[in-house]
Amino acid sequence: MKGNYKIMDSTISSKVVEARVLGSIEDAPDAHKKGPGLQLVSNQSSTTASLIKYLDLLKTIEDIELDCPFLEINFVGEKRLKNPISIIIESDEDAFIARSPDFPIYGYGESQLEAIESYKRELYSMYQDIKEDDNFSPDWLAIKKFLDKNLVP
């Protein structure tokens, strides 16, 4: 069971992360008590869902530590991006924040996973907002143009 795996969240399709299983998956709940049983590492924009069964386990592990604080987001809601968006996850006192230089949004959470999930919700929500009309300042119109160009129809 040891090794690197890619995991896709079925509940929010934009979630594609790579996970490193440090011990046997059966030991992971115990590992949670001692330390992280799984670690997220930077995603290489693959959508392999073969380890989807580990997702629930991932959610139960609160102290996952990122090997590399960079992740790539490949979806905005259900829509795939031609080029992934890179985000960085940092600690922010006792919480975590996920940010990207590309958009004026952030994700906030008590754990790194929560911050990533929050960022993805924010990205989707921002996209829904800017889709509504064209009554935006030029920088927002540029973001809209960028997303329209980068989303696979």
């Binding site: 924040i97 952030y106 907002d129 300042s137």
Partner: protein, 99 residues
């Protein structure tokens, strides 16, 4: 940075009262737009629940409003009024004030 002085509810209240930002209900995050002259200029996200805002999140909120953390401090503490906020946005070229 005076993030420790304000919790998420304080920030939301100031944005609503001073900048007329209307936050969307529902979801885990609360979003609202600052609108000027019928155009959406800046969009702020405030995490739900009454909790203190850590420094990077605080700075991100200021960045979302296109102002410095110092100006964000002023906005929350009171001296920065909506008029002054608009003036700052105009100075940085985000909006155009009428002559």
């Amino acid at each position: 940075v005076r993030n420790n002085q304000f919790n998420t509810n304080d920030i939301k209240r100031v944005c609503e009262n001073k900048l007329d930002i209307e936050f969307r209900k529902g979801g885990k995050e609360q979003n609202g737009w600052f609108i000027y002259g019928g155009k959406k200029i800046s969009r702020i996200t405030v995490p739900k629940g009454r909790k203190n805002v850590p420094p990077k999140t605080y700075k991100s909120m200021a960045t979302q409003l296109k102002i410095s953390t110092k100006d964000f401090d002023s906005l929350l503490e009171c001296p920065l009024t909506k008029k002054l906020y608009e003036l700052k946005l105009s100075k940085d070229g985000h909006i155009q004030l009428p002559e």
